[in-house]
Structures are given as C-alpha cells and as structure tokens.
Symmetry: C3
Subunit: 403 residues, 3 copies
Amino acid sequence: IRSLVQYDLAHYMQPGKAQSLAAANGPDLSSGGNFRRAWFGVQGKVFGDWSYYLNYDFGGGGGTETPGHVQQLWVQYDGLGPIALRIGAFTPSNGIEDATSSGDTIFLERNAVAEMARNIAGGDGRNTISATYSADKLFAQITYTGNKIQDSGAFDEQQAVTGRLAGLPFSNDSTKLLLSAAGSYVFKVADAAAGQGAARTITLNAPPEITVDNTGTKFVTSGSLNAERVWQYGLEAAAEWQSLYTQAGYFRYGVDLRANAGAYGFGGWYGQASYLLTGESRPYSAATASFGNPKPRIPFSLSGGGWGAWEVAARYSDLDLNDHAGMKGAALPTGGLRGGEQKAWTLGVNWYPNQALKFEAQYQNVGIDRLGTIPAAGTKPAVNNAFVGQSLNIIALRSQIAF
Amino acid sequence: IRSLVQYDLAHYMQPGKAQSLAAANGPDLSSGGNFRRAWFGVQGKVFGDWSYYLNYDFGGGGGTETPGHVQQLWVQYDGLGPIALRIGAFTPSNGIEDATSSGDTIFLERNAVAEMARNIAGGDGRNTISATYSADKLFAQITYTGNKIQDSGAFDEQQAVTGRLAGLPFSNDSTKLLLSAAGSYVFKVADAAAGQGAARTITLNAPPEITVDNTGTKFVTSGSLNAERVWQYGLEAAAEWQSLYTQAGYFRYGVDLRANAGAYGFGGWYGQASYLLTGESRPYSAATASFGNPKPRIPFSLSGGGWGAWEVAARYSDLDLNDHAGMKGAALPTGGLRGGEQKAWTLGVNWYPNQALKFEAQYQNVGIDRLGTIPAAGTKPAVNNAFVGQSLNIIALRSQIAF
Amino acid sequence: IRSLVQYDLAHYMQPGKAQSLAAANGPDLSSGGNFRRAWFGVQGKVFGDWSYYLNYDFGGGGGTETPGHVQQLWVQYDGLGPIALRIGAFTPSNGIEDATSSGDTIFLERNAVAEMARNIAGGDGRNTISATYSADKLFAQITYTGNKIQDSGAFDEQQAVTGRLAGLPFSNDSTKLLLSAAGSYVFKVADAAAGQGAARTITLNAPPEITVDNTGTKFVTSGSLNAERVWQYGLEAAAEWQSLYTQAGYFRYGVDLRANAGAYGFGGWYGQASYLLTGESRPYSAATASFGNPKPRIPFSLSGGGWGAWEVAARYSDLDLNDHAGMKGAALPTGGLRGGEQKAWTLGVNWYPNQALKFEAQYQNVGIDRLGTIPAAGTKPAVNNAFVGQSLNIIALRSQIAF
C-alpha cells in the first residue's frame, strides 16, 4: 500500500487593475486550500517476472477536490533483463523535471515549460504501451501513447510517440552530471466530434506554477488549434555537488495546422537550484533518471533529536507562446499568434522532518506579457491590441505525507 | 485499514395534501435505499511523534450514491504532550452530538439542531488548522477553518474560528456527567463569485433527521442570505447511570446581513435518552469528549452464544428558523423571516450483534410549522401567508459494519 | 485486499454507409482504450458467522473512465449452515453467464442476451436482500431487489424479485453437466419523477458485446417504455469434457405497458465453446454455480518455464427486440415495436501467463437488422421504414490483472 497526500494553501496577491481583465485572463484568482494530490495505491509483483501498480487519486488541482479516479494502472513484464515492457495508464518519461516524481519536486509545481511539454503526449494517466531500458548510467524509453484516461468526448483518440534518452556522463560520491533529451510527436490529434470531417483540436498551455485557484485560469495559452501534427522536444541537464543541486532546460514546441493553414512555433527555458542547509544530498534514481527528496540525516524530534532536513531553493522559468505577435497597437501579423509570455520567479524553503513528511513554503512572482485575445479553433486570432497581462505575487504552503 | 459502511432503507409516509406543496417544500419524498457512508481509510503513525488519517467516502446522503471523495485527510504533530497540532481536512469538535462519531450515534442521523450548528464552520471534510488539548477529564480545541473541500465555486474561501470546551465534573464506575460548550464565528463568508462586489451567501438549514430521500428537501431553511458575519453556540450536557444514557442541548444561531440590512437570530434544543436492555454501558471517550457504541458483553451466536447488545432510545428535537415570522394571514413584519419550525420525535431500537455490526430501526414523526416562502439572497422575503408545512412519519432501517 | 483491473483496446471497422445513420444508431463508434474495470476492495469475516465484501470500481465501460464508486458492499450472515442471508449492494445470481465473475468470462463481455437479462433486476451494485442455498451439486437463490445504487433521479425505487435454481446432474473428474433456470419479475417500475401520476419508464437494451466506444450506442433497444410490469427468464446449460467447454442459453423477456396499452415480448439465444490447448480445464465453482478461469499448469517464464495456458473460443448470440415489426416499406403494425435484431459472431484467443494475469484478443462481427426508429416513452413508434442497421467488425485486446 502506497500513498501521497499534498495539501496546499495559497494566497494570490493581484494588482487592482487586473480586475478590468476578461474572465479568461484571470481578473480574480481564488485563494484558499485544496488537496493537490491524494493518492492511494497498491504496488507489487506477481510470479516474479511481472509487476503492477494500481494507483487512485482523490485530490485535484482545481481548487475543488475531484472524485477519486485512476492516476496510474499498469502491468509490466520484467523478464527481459534491463528492458521492461509495460501496458496501461501511466506517465511516460519526458525529461528530468517530468521524471521527478510528484512528491519529489523541489517546488510545489513543476515549471510551466516542462509542465506544458509533458502534457502533450504524456502526463498522469496517459494510455500507453512502452519499452524502457534502464541501467546504472543510461536510461532510454520509447512509448506509444493515446489519450489520457480522464479525457472525455474524444472520438478516435490521439496517437503519438514520446521518448527519452538520458545518461550520467560523470558521477562520483560527491558529484553527478545528468544529461537528458526528450521529445513527443503527435501524428494524429484526437477527433473533437464523431464523423469524417470532425475538427482535431489541441490546446497548449500551462497553469502559473501553482494550482490552488479554482477558476482554472491559464495566463498564457495557444488557444484551441485545429492541428494536423504537434511536436515537442526538451534538452535538460542537472548537476549536483554535495548539498548543491542545479537543473536547467530548453524546450521547443510546434503545431502544424490542418488544411495547410500554416504552423506555429513556441519555446521556453528554465533554471533552478537548491541547497540543503543540513548537509544532505538529493539522491539519484537510475530507474527514472532523475533526483528525489533528501533523506534527513537526523529526523526532527523535540526530545533530543535533530531538526530534520532544511532546503532553500530558487527558480526562474520563461514560457513564450507568442509567434509573430506583432507590436502593441498594431494589427496582428499574418500567421501570428498572441499566446503571451510568462516569466516566473520562485523562492522556496522546504522542511523534511522525516522520510514521510515534507512542508514547503514558497513565494512567486509571475509576470505575464500578452497582447490580444485567445483565437478560436484553427482560425487566425482577431485583431485586439489590448495588453491582457498582469504581474502578481503568490505565497503558498504545502503539507505533504508520502509512504 | 479502517472502514465504516452504513446502508439505509427508508419509507416516507406523507399526508395526501402534501402533494399540493411547491417542490422546495417536499411534496413527495422518495423512499428507497442508499449507502449513507462507505468509508475506506488508513490511519497510522510516522516516526513516533506524527500521526495521520487518510479517509475516503464512497457513499452519499442524497439517496443517490456519490463518487468516492475525501472524507478526512490530515497530519498531526503529537510531540507536545497533551496538545496536538493538526492540518488538513477533518471535522472540528463542535459539541457532544457533533463529536460522537458517525458510526456511534444513537439514531441514524444527528438531531437537526446540532446538525445545522456543526455545518456552519465544521462538519466532515472541513479545511482546518487546529490545536487540541485532551486529558482524562478536560477537552479543549480551537480551530481555524475554511471551506469544506467539496464546496465548489467558492471565490476566496470562508474564514472562521470554531472551538469547544468540555469537562467531566463528576465520574465514577457507574455514573458520568459531561458538560460541553461550543461555538463558531464566521468572520468572512465565502464569495459566491469572482470580483470585489460579489455576494457572500450562506444558507442555514438541516435535513429532517433522515437522508434517504434524493430530492434534498430541507423543510426548514433560512434561505440564501448575503451575510457579513455568522455565529453559533451550543450548550450540551450528557449524564450516564449504568445502562441509562441521557443527553440534551440548547443552541443559538445569528446572521448579520451585509450593507446594514439587519440581522436574524434562530434557536433550537433537543433531548434524547437510551437504555441498554442487555446491561452494557455507552463507553466514554476522553479523546473526543463524547460517548460511543456499547461493546456487547456476549456476541450474538445461534450456537450457544448470547444475543449481542440491545438498546431502546427516544429523542425530541425542535429547530426554529422563524424570526419575527408574524401571524398567518398577516403580512410578514419588517425584518422578519419565515424559515419554519421543525419538531421531530424519534423512537429507535438498536441491535449490536458484535463489535463490528450494528442494526438500527427507527420511527420518526416530523412536524413542520411554516408560513410563506424562502426569501431570495439578502432580501426580505415576499409576503406569502400560505402554510407550507406538513406532518409526516418515516420508518427506517440501517445496517452498519465498522472496523 | 482484492483487485481486478481490465484494460481494453478496441478498433471499430464500420462500413462507409453507416455514416448516414442518425446519432442513436451508431454512425461512428470511437476506437481507443479504456479501463473496463478497476476494482479495489476488501473481503473478510467478522466474528465467525458474519462476512462482508466492500468493493469499489474506478473504471468504467463508456470509453471514458468514471470516478470511483461502489461496485458491491454487503454484509452476510453465515450462521445457518448452507443458507446465507445477505443485505447491501451486490449482483444477484441470474444464470450461468451472469454468475461467471467479470474476471472469468471467456470473452471480453458477456453475450448481449444474458447481459440484457441480468440488468433488468440484477447486475452490479443492485440494492438487495437475498437468501442463498449452496451445496456441492445444488444452488438456489431468491433476491428482493431495488434500484442500482448508481441510478439517479428515481422517485420511489424499482421493486422486483429475482431468483435462480441450478444443479449439477452429472459430474465426474473429466465431465460436468450444469443446468440452470433463472428469472426476474419487476412488480413496480421506478418512478421517473415525483408525484402520483409520474411515468414508470424502463428501457431494455444491451451494448454490442464490447464497450470501448464512448458514444454509448445500443444498436438494438426497446426504447423507453412506460411499464406496469417487466419479466424475464433464462434457461442455460453448460457441459465440460476435459479441456473442452460448451455453454448455451435461451431467454425470453416481457413488458406490460401501463394504462392497458398492450404488451411486448422479446427473445434471444446464444451458444459458446472454448478449448484449452495446453490441457487445463475450467474449474467449477459450487458457490456461484458457474465455471471460472483455468489455472495454468506451468506459468509462463522465459527462463526454462512453460507457456502458461492458451485457450481458443467462439460464440454466437442473437438478441431480437422486434415484436410485430412488420415489413420494410410497410407501416408498423398496431402493437408492434421495431427494436431491431443483433446477431454477433465472436472468435477469441486467451492467454493466461499465470494465475493473476490474462490477455484476451478477440474478433467480432456484429450484424444489426433493424427498421424504423426508437419509440417515445409508452407510445407506439412512428412509421419509419428506413433500414437503420449495419454490419461491422471489431478487434479488441484486453489486459487483465486480478488478485
């Protein structure tokens, strides 16, 4: 039996002039508390060569808790040495940030750049068939993916291939360098309706690196696009020296519209670092080619014990969904899209009283630079030169238990 | 692993003239069966000083079973002796009836007076941070609470403080006296919509002490009020002498309307008694300052055993949501509200074959005395002098398993 | 702790002319994957004479996965020898195919004839009180049933009795013959709305023996009928000789309309056979009077082991919901109903690598012979002589884990 519960409290501090924005642009995000994840699952082996993982989630990232649903459910054949074959719903590997498990991320949410990338053909509860090679210093995975199992109303599912190659070119007791390349190629976008001529729509976007708000606002978004193909790649590196951990990534995304209506390209990057004040290191996991939570050297105890592990961290991310956005006050150039650019600073302090508990406090500044409106599906956006961005601050606290 | 399952069957017997009532006043409640609770959870300790409880509910009180959702999820720090600090979703203590756990109540449902009180700033799955002091003869708890985690569409959550003080001034082997005072103060009602000028609405009401009906009818209700502040207090006492158990309480509620539109005050009281024919007593729990199910002296068994424990019980409750309701046939006085008064008699027989099982049969007579209609949010109700009450009988059977 | 997870992938191959059919007649079924069942439950005994089973389902048969809900929850008294009394939600026994547990069926879905029969007053999650007699060679059950616990919006639930009698007149080590008779009688159809004059509607239909499609299309259906009474009976036999298993059944269904508007009668039959290439037999379960999955003699293992168990199977089913349907091009005869006839061939190959895993591949041809449209509730259908059937092929793969 395994469980991961994350309870988030957040307070959004928005400028007064945000109130004049349209509903889609986040005039008033809602502060409060919610269960980000409430996982309850069973993992095990059957008859040696087969393993399974059945995991259910009773939490939800929309400010309101959602009913219990499947988070991942799969069966894996382990009888081929370092290669494992898996079928079911799970999260295919799509980079260092993606492969860091949801209870082990340094901040409350993954950075928006990696978050958008992983949800194109991966993310939680994706229908998949995959083959994985994992050894001490090399990780490779190729996965054929369909829709997420919670997606409703899809007529003939999305079909895509996603893969990752990662290696540890240098590692010793105090130092580790991890390089990772990952990408996705959606060769058939899901039908939005029944019948031959149905639109095949996809929307690329990401929440503002915190999901307590229940309006579901995405400050930057491609809008719904009627797409023929979608692709994405991400190059990431992580370096660890004793208690210092650093990680960075560069991502590109592309959408080819249907009916020869052109193509859009987007990009983004992030960098983050953390330092463990109490001397621990983030341990490397060869099974996922990523780093996890530190194990406190001395668990917290008022009666003569230690203070657990304490970590400070900082991150910057820049997700740019503009493509030929043009100038403010001018018409949108032909073939352009005003999806907006989101730049976010995050500072965090994490406390690990023992191996099961984790408390995270973080402060964020999110700046949105965006013109015009969200375009309708597959059409070029209407001319709208208003500036629809804002700059807001968010404070948040997560209480987490995992076992 | 812990579980509590309650399966209720009920038959509503309404007078023929009830059929002419409006839908909100319960012209035809639906008989049938439903799972009132289907809890499945895990409780445990981590590293000595910390404890947790993760509990999910697959049942539902609306005649229709609801999808699995969080019932309570919390982490608690126990390292400060008799004081415990807790964060997450749970049920803050709000009196003797409220603190009696859902599997240990003498009747199928808590009395309407305490039920309405506990749901103002407490009840199942409330977002909370709390401090609890519990010793053998004294219990105190203060809790800061937000919304319930299942509440949807709240923009900036409710904020409230709720607390309870309870003590056992007299106790020996055969006799116990428990006194309890509890209250809630909602200093910020939840926003009903985004934006600065949003209404802050709250509705005070309670179901008719049985929830098998799936129309969700509340016979007495304040209607939706646009409120600045809401408060409530309850004074209760319980006395036990050998197999005889008695309990009573007096409650007051207040709502201050916004924009200086006045205030409403409501009240209610209840009394109940039970007698264990087979000689057991209801055991006292110092951790919750309430009494629980008796443990049968000899479990039921056809092959030479005993009959388990048998209990008979009676209750009367009176919940009055009228405030200057005026006379029938006359206009509603200025500042008045016709929420109605509900008086309910309940007779019950409970059978405990062993420590895990419980079967409860009960007969209820519910009388509703009510004029006029439910007022719109924050307005004074329109003049409507029709009598919208009724008197109905309900028989019900609960089958319960708990471990 | 018990679990059953079934992950289905299916591809629907429909003729081009199906696209001109109305939405209700399945112009474009959706291919893809979904979790048919994701059960997670606890089964046990309390104090010797009592047993319970609490089971939750996180999967769903509609192409989209549904939130976790109750699959069955019951308490049973076993203190009366071969007779067991049970209360709660479960699946009453309604024949050999029905009693074969969902993880033990030879094909992905039960045949449409038995599927329609079991859902009239039985099926998963039915509110019931039952008495069961089970001995080595004789099984009898009588059950009083209400609605399914997931049914919403029922005002005063359905009330019905369902029962089954089954026996093993001949059995030795290599050969078994099982005979079974079962039936249901619905004496009160559920109210569709509140009030005295509410319609009491019921719809008889079944999916096309595969449920990956998320449009919920039922090719053949009685339409919604305002019914006074509904009945059904099924006669089935199963014979096993070493590795060869055969089973067949004949079913009749009847609906008496309200207000003396006449009656409809429907029928169907099926036959199926399977052969275990690796020499195992399907074991007989006296507790359910049905046969289960074979236990592989040598579990599959690349390192020197065997190949598990391999099974080939074939089935034909014919479900006829026409009643005086008349000729194509002619008006519908008085008192007739054009519900359609579905004839389905299925061929399957099943692989059981070990006792916990099962992979099933199947090919189906479904032919629909149907005139006219679905009639409105309780009315005779309008004249519509168009042929609304089609013939389609479906390939499907199930991956299953059960423990």
